[in-house]
Each structure stands twice: as C-alpha cells, then as structure tokens.
C-alpha cells in the first residue's frame, strides 16, 4: 500500500472496524542524503529511505499507541490489532481529547528537493573556509544533510493535513588545537531552506568558531564568588529553557502538581524585559508546525510576556487534567525577544563574572536549582574579557535568575528553528579550585 492517503484511510476504517471509538494516524515517507566528516576529512555518504506509521486509538477512553515502519497491509493490520489490545489493557481516562473540527490542508515547506551536488559543494566549501579563517579549529565531526518528508495526518473526526517539507541541515562539532593544547568541544547547528550563501555566514557559526579559537590557554578560577553570568544561546537553552519547559510549564509537572509555577498564571515570574514565545510558523523557522499532536491547528503564543506568565505549555490532555487552557502549539521553536545592548556593551558593564557558551550540568532540580561546569567560558573583569576558563562551576536557581536579569542582548542566534539572545544574570555562584 504505497499511497499515503489510501493507507491512512485504511487505518481509519480498520481501527473502527476493530472497535476503536477514535483513531488518528501519521503516515510518513522520508529520505535523507547525508555527508559525514570525521577528524576533518570526509568519511561517509548516506542515503536513507524511511517509512513510519504511528497509530493512536481510544476505546472506552482507554488509549493505546503503536509505531511501525512498514506499509504492507498485513503489518499495518497487525499493528492496528496490537494498538487495540494495548488500549483495552489501559485504564479509562476521560481527559484524552482530540480535535473534532473537520479540516483539510495540503502544503509545502522549506526545500523539498535536494541538490546533492550543491550540498557536497557547500560542505566542502565550509571545511575550506574554516581551515582558512580558523586554522586552529579541528572539525571533530560535521554532518550535513538534506531531509525531506511527505506525510499524512488523519483522524476519525475528518481532520487531515498533508505536509511536504524539506531542509538542509548542518551540524558541526569542533575544538581548538595547537600542539598538545586543546579546547573543550563546541557545537554549531543551522537549518536552511536554500544553499544560496556560504554556510559559514549563517547563524553564529563564524563568530562561535572564532570564540573557540581563543580558548587554547584556559586557566582554572581561584576561589568562589557571587557574580554575573552571561549565558550565550546554547547555555541559555541548557540551563534556563530546560528548567522552564522541563519543570515549570509542561504537562508532567503540572499534572502531578510539582511545578513551582502551578499557581503563577497571570503573575510576574521574571524581569519585565523578558518575553518568551513558542512559534508555530515564522519567517525565521524553516519548517514550522501547522497541527498539534492532538490534531488542533497550531498557533504561536507567548509563554512569558514582559515578565508575566501568560500561558502554560499544556496539551489538551494536560489542560483537561489540570483545568487550565491548552497551549497554541508545543514546538521547540523558542523565541526570546531581543534587548537593546550588544553583547560587547553588556560585557563592558560587568564588574566580575563569566561568559558561558555551553553548560555541562546535572538536570535542573524541580525547584530550578542547578549546578554544573561552565564550558567554553571566559572570565570577565572590570568590563573586559581577561581570559578563558577551565574547571569552573556555576550554580544557582532559575526562578531567582529570571528576576535578576542584568541585560538581554540585541544580537541573537537564528538557526532556522529558534531565536535566542545572550542574557546576563546577576547573583550566580561561580566557583573554582
């Protein structure tokens, strides 16, 4: 059964015939063309042809899900039967709810056709540009690919989406080297809708490569102090966004009541300058989302607006469990509104602190407490970067930090899925040997 629409319709009919009250499925075909570079040299070319079938049913408010990657009728029939059996074993839960407003949308996003020769050319060019502009950088691994999929989302309430979407992805992991000296590794990523310009000019790749080259002679920090931490976009995501989305605003912690923000909707939780949004679609998002996992039309929304918590990031299931409203979408496309000062101007205003490009730490506690290693970090003293750091730890509490924002940068990382500035936070514990 190679026609996606026919297969989806078969699943609707067969699942209902086997007793499902409700069914939805995602049927998907995808292709990947990928080049790998290891240790600075080309190592592999991959071509993948994939298929996926995901089926969810409700039977008497009992939910079951299966995932297979075969399209033949026998395998799909068996999967439906397994899904029904799984649902029959579950407990009934009336909170499960899916979109019941009929709609049909057919659309194309990004770059659905791969130019393999040009992808290879841009990959090779990127390697050469890095060698020329950043001779102390060694590419530990670079994976460049074109990924395209065509899929059908269909539910038994006549909700249908037919997206075709493709994009070029560049993912680099690298470190600085000079003799036996080396830096911590760092990663840069970007998703592109076209290959019109050299990749080194995209996102913050050139700037980040330059910063890593400056970290070949790091020194351990002596002692411990409370100071300012300027988090670059990657570190901001690893500390602040992990805690906010992992512990404070999402289904799991709100359903079980452990979120410390569970009673904070409408209240101030952060500095007035902070606005965090989730984007379903945006000019800066290569492949957006038009439908949620429960079949509702996806819409962008503000999570925190001018420091105030204005929405949780809840699914319809989570909303029904908690008595709150469903969020417009649940995507990884996080946008934080930029500030007015450049990163350089922010640094000039810091008496003593650290610039952290990457964070290696334990998962933030449900309270937002965290500690970990400041990776690819620089010491800031009297408004200047005075050297690279090693073996330096930072620890703090995310809810406190959100109310201790010193500045938000005007320069932002736009990598095709997120838009994140640098943010400086006061009152963070910084400790060395």
């Amino acid at each position: 059964m190679d026609n996606l629409e026919s297969l989806a319709e078969y699943i609707m009919v067969e699942a209902r015939a086997q007793g499902a009250d409700y069914v939805h499925c995602v049927v998907r075909e995808s292709e990947k063309r990928e080049f790998n570079v290891d240790g600075g040299r080309f190592s592999l070319m991959r071509t993948l042809f994939n298929r996926d079938v995901s089926i969810t049913v409700l039977k008497g408010s009992r939910k079951g899900s299966v995932h297979i990657n075969r399209f033949d009728e026998g395998s799909v029939y068996d999967a439906i039967s397994e899904c029904i059996a799984a649902s029959e074993s579950a407990e009934p839960d009336p909170a499960w709810q899916f979109c019941d407003e009929p709609t049909e949308q057919i659309y194309v996003q990004g770059a659905p056709v791969c130019d393999t020769e040009k992808l290879f050319f841009r990959t090779k060019e990127l390697l050469e540009d890095i060698r020329e502009r950043h001779p102390k950088i060694l590419i530990e691994q670079m994976i460049t690919s074109h990924d395209v999929y065509r899929s059908v989302y269909m539910n038994s309430n006549c909700v249908m989406y037919h997206p075709t979407a493709g994009a070029y992805n560049f993912s680099l992991m690298y470190s600085g080297h000079e003799g036996e000296k080396s830096t911590s590794f760092f990663g840069s990523d970007v998703t592109l809708a076209n290959l019109d310009k050299p990749v080194i000019e995209c996102a913050l790749i050139d700037r980040e490569l330059g910063e890593i080259e400056k970290q070949l002679d790091p020194e351990p920090l002596e002692g411990k102090f409370t100071g300012t931490v300027l988090l670059a976009p990657a570190a901001l995501s690893e500390i602040v966004l992990d805690a906010v989305f992992g512990d404070f605003v999402s289904d799991s912690s709100l359903i079980d009541g452990t979120s410390i923000w569970k009673d904070k909707l409408g209240e101030k939780v952060a500095d007035d300058r902070l606005t965090i949004s989730l984007k379903a679609m945006d000019d800066d998002v290569v492949i957006g989302s038009r439908v949620t996992g429960e079949g509702y039309p996806a819409e962008s929304f503000d999570l925190i607006r001018n420091g105030r918590l204005v929405s949780f990031d809840l699914s319809q299931y989570g909303a029904n469990k908690t008595g709150q409203k469903r969020a417009g979408c649940s995507t990884g496309n996080v946008f934080i509104t930029a500030g007015e000062q450049s990163t350089d101007e922010i640094i000039k205003g810091i008496g003593r602190g650290v610039l952290v490009m990457r964070f290696s730490g334990g998962t933030p506690a449900p309270s937002g407490e965290f500690s970990g290693v400041a990776k690819n970090a620089f010491l800031i003293e009297d408004g200047k970067i005075t050297g690279a750091l090693t073996e330096t730890m930072i620890s703090g509490c995310v809810p406190d930090m959100l109310n201790s924002i010193r500045a938000i940068s005007s320069d932002v990382l736009k990598d095709g899925s997120v838009s994140l500035p640098y943010i400086a936070f006061d009152g963070v514990t910084i400790s060395g040997k």
Binding site: A79, S89, A95, S252, E391
Partner: protein, 461 residues
C-alpha cells in the same frame, strides 16, 4: 526471528571493496504511569535493511525501511554508488582494509514478546505498592519498558552473525517536598538483560528496592546543599561506572582520538593512580556474564575485551576496523549501530574499573570532611577529559561517619588528573545498564566499577 534472505546476496557485493549487509529489527514497549494514570502506552517495531561499502578510505551507506530481497538489492546498489561518489570527490586513497578470518556466529532461538497487558499489570502492581507504602510523596512515576535489537549481518570478510540483545527495566521516580515546599526527586531502575516476562515475574521481589528508594528520598528532603569546591569524596560504584564511561571511555574511542582527544598524546603514559585498571569488556567480566554482552560487532569483528588502562598506564583505544588500521592496533568488536538505518560507530560495550581490596566502611571512616556520592542522574565529558556528573543521592562525611543527605549537586574534574588522586579502591563492582550512551546514535551500554576515594570539584553553595 529475521529470516536469512541476505546470505544469498553475497554474489552482488561490490568487487574489490569491503561490504556489510545488515537486516535489523528494533523492538520497544513502554508503559508510563504518572501518579496512577497511564500517560504512555506504546509499542514500536522498526525493521529494515542497510548496506555499507568501504572504498579507499571512505564509506557509502544506504538503508530502506523494508526487509525484503528487493530492498537488499536496492541498498547494496545505492551504497556502492555512494562509495564511488566519495572515492571520486573526496577519495582518501587508503587502499583496502585488512581482511578478517571468515567465521559464523548465530543465536538459535528468538525472544518472547509479552502482550502490553503484562507491562501494564506489572507497572500497576508497583504503583499500588508505592501509593500505599510511600505516603509522604507528592508525585510518583512508574515505567515498565523493554527494548531489543535483533541483527542479521553478512559481510564480504569477517564474521557473519545473527544476534539478539533484549533488555527490560522498571523505573520508579519519586517526588517529595522539603520543609519549605521545594520539590526533590529521586529515581531508581531495576532490571537488565532479558525480556520483560523473564525479568519481572513477581512485583514483591522489587518492594525492598522501593522501600530503600523511599527511605533515601525522605532523607534527601531533609538534605543540605554541598559546599562548593575541591573535596575528598568516595564515589560509589554507580558513580565510578559513569566515570569509566563518560570521562575515560569516550576519550579513548579511536574516532575521538583522531578528532583530537586528550588520549592521543597519552598512550603508554601514566594517566591514573597505579591502583586503577580499566577494561571495556565484550561479554564476560570478572568471571560473570556482562550486563549487555556483545559477541560480534556490526563490521563482522569478533568481540574481545579491550584493556584501556593497566595499573594506571593508558594502554589502548577502542577501534573500528578502519581506525585499527590507522593506529596499527587490532579491532576488537567495538563498531556498533543502533537502528538498521544507522552505520556502525565506535561504541563501548561494558566498561568498568577493576575492583581493589578496600572495604567501603573503611573508606568512609578514612575521611574527616568530605562526601559519599552514590547515584547519578546524568553525565557528560569533553574530549579534553573534563567531565561533569549530576549527583542525585549522596551524604556528607564528617569525622569518618555519614552525615546529612545532599540535595542535587554536580561534580566535575579532568579525568586524567582526577584518576591520579585515587588512593583507595573498593572490593565490590556495581553495574548499571538501563541507560543509553549518546553519540550521533543512542546505544545500550553497561558501565560499572567499585567505590573510589579521590578528589573532585563539587558544585553547591
């Protein structure tokens, strides 16, 4: 079990190149109860076929989500085309890989596939016990899961193999509150190699471990912040396992050595205390079956142990066939792939520090002011050997005795510096195997070790 439709394809292998043709089925089953509600109830079966062709220093690879003779023919053709493209545009001119002796390894039997009801009923039984016996919790999560990899491998040289590696676990996650209302969390996984129905026959077997977890979180909610700085600590066996894997293991994977890891200029040098010996075990360690045994890797290499550190001296790397050629070492079966659509990468199998002679109680008694760090939630390490582990359970040590429990904290250090501070090694090895190692692809691995006394940086206030 996968039928062997691949061996007959050998005649289609690209002449003059090394070729691997692999059929694979990954199975996963998972049930999650969140405070009694079934929030996840899912089964997944992913299968297909892939081919990889080596030509003069680069590889071509292709896969299809279909296990059929037609799909095998198509991926063989596409992989050969990709190998030709790479040889033409980025050829390394390295010539062929050294040939391996031809052998065969085959499992005889398939594995059970329990119905979803088996997972749900067991998770409900554990959840009911937690709900009844752990009254101070504000939230609980119980997970019952299984994943397995079945592989059928045919190679142009080396071993042909048919392998199956199932593993199954239950997770219990508890959340309690501190006196000032802050949530604290603790989790434990139980289980290991084998299908769910064989590992989990009686819920009561696991009740003592649940009791112990509850006892620990009750202490943790009264816990204190660690005092940040360089401290003398006892790392429990689970923490040593994390250290073996993250901080040392990754730096001695040959592909990361070629990418500039710190191990590159430390071979045959002292990198640890003479008390430290570290091995990546293939299938048998200290006279027992490893947590996740490997007999043949996905390049057709017979799996054998790799001694990484011997009496404090760095003695070897883990290799693929290609990296072994580069370093003049012997490949010992470390090249493994996660899905049918993944190419083999250099991965650890069961990595552990060897036990010493010290008793844990003597190690604790030897410290006036430090910490006993028992369990870790996650860990990361750098190619420089700088590591970080989250600590989810630990205690103060004051005047040779355990003190208050710790709230979540983090430890860090540089592996080859920190290992030189090891001055006591415990006599009992503890293994963990429930997690995934992440390196482009996930991979189930075992990691273990005895308690170590050493100096590390600890985060806190």
């Amino acid at each position: 079990m996968l039928d062997d439709i691949l061996s007959v394809r050998k005649s289609e292998f690209h002449s003059g190149s090394h070729t691997e043709l692999r059929g694979q089925l990954n199975r996963s089953r998972k049930v999650t109860l969140l405070s009694g509600s079934v929030v996840a109830n899912a089964r997944s079966d992913i299968s297909g076929v892939s081919a990889r062709v080596y030509k003069n220093g680069t590889y071509g690879f292709s896969s299809m989500a279909e296990y059929s003779p037609e799909a095998a023919a198509k991926v063989l053709h596409a992989a050969a085309e990709n190998a030709d493209f790479m040889d033409l545009h980025a050829g390394a001119g390295k010539g062929p890989l050294p040939a391996l002796p031809r052998k065969t390894y085959r499992v005889q039997n398939g594995i059970n596939d329990p119905a979803q009801k088996v997972y749900i009923d067991f998770a409900k039984a554990l959840d009911a016990y937690v709900a009844e016996h752990c009254p101070e919790l504000v939230s609980r999560v119980v997970v019952a899961m299984e994943d397995s990899m079945e592989k059928l491998l045919v190679t142009s040289d080396g071993m042909d193999a048919h392998t199956i590696l199932p593993r199954s676990y239950c997770y219990v996650v508890m959340t309690a509150q501190t006196g000032d209302g802050q949530p604290v969390e603790l989790f434990k996984s139980f289980g290991g190699e084998g299908t769910f129905d064989l590992n989990f026959t009686d819920p009561a077997v696991w009740y003592p471990q649940i009791d112990s977890l509850y006892e620990n979180i009750m202490k943790k909610r009264e816990g204190v912040y660690a005092d940040a700085g360089l401290k003398t600590v006892i790392l429990g066996g689970m923490m040593t396992g994390m250290l073996s894997h993250e901080a040392v293991g990754h730096t001695v994977e040959a592909d990361l050595v070629l990418s500039g890891s710190v191990a590159g200029h430390n071979l045959n040098k002292q990198v640890a205390s003479p008390l430290v010996t570290l091995t990546d075990f293939a299938n048998t360690a200290f006279g027992k079956r490893c947590p996740l045994p490997v007999y043949v890797d996905d390049e057709g290499t017979k799996a054998q142990d790799v001694t990484l550190i011997k009496d404090g001296i760095l003695t070897g790397y883990m290799n693929s066939r290609e990296s072994a050629l580069h370093f003049g070492m012997e490949p010992r079966g470390n090249a493994r792939a996660w899905l049918f659509s993944d190419e083999p990468l250099i991965r650890m199998r069961n990595t552990s520090v060897h036990p010493g002679t010290d008793k844990l109680e003597d190690m604790i008694a030897s410290i006036d002011d430090g910490y006993y760090l028992i369990d870790s939630g996650n860990g990361q390490a750098d190619t420089t050997g700088e590591f970080m582990f989250g600590v989810t359970m630990g205690y103060e040590i004051k005047n040779g005795k355990l003190g208050k429990a710790l709230l979540d904290t983090t430890i860090s250090g540089v592996a080859f510096d920190m290992l030189k501070t090891v001055d006591m090694v415990g006599d009992t090895v503890v293994w963990a195997s429930s997690g995934f190692c992440g390196k482009k692809q996930p991979m189930p691995v075992g990691m273990g070790g005895p308690a170590l006394r050493c100096k590390v940086m600890i985060g806190g206030r």
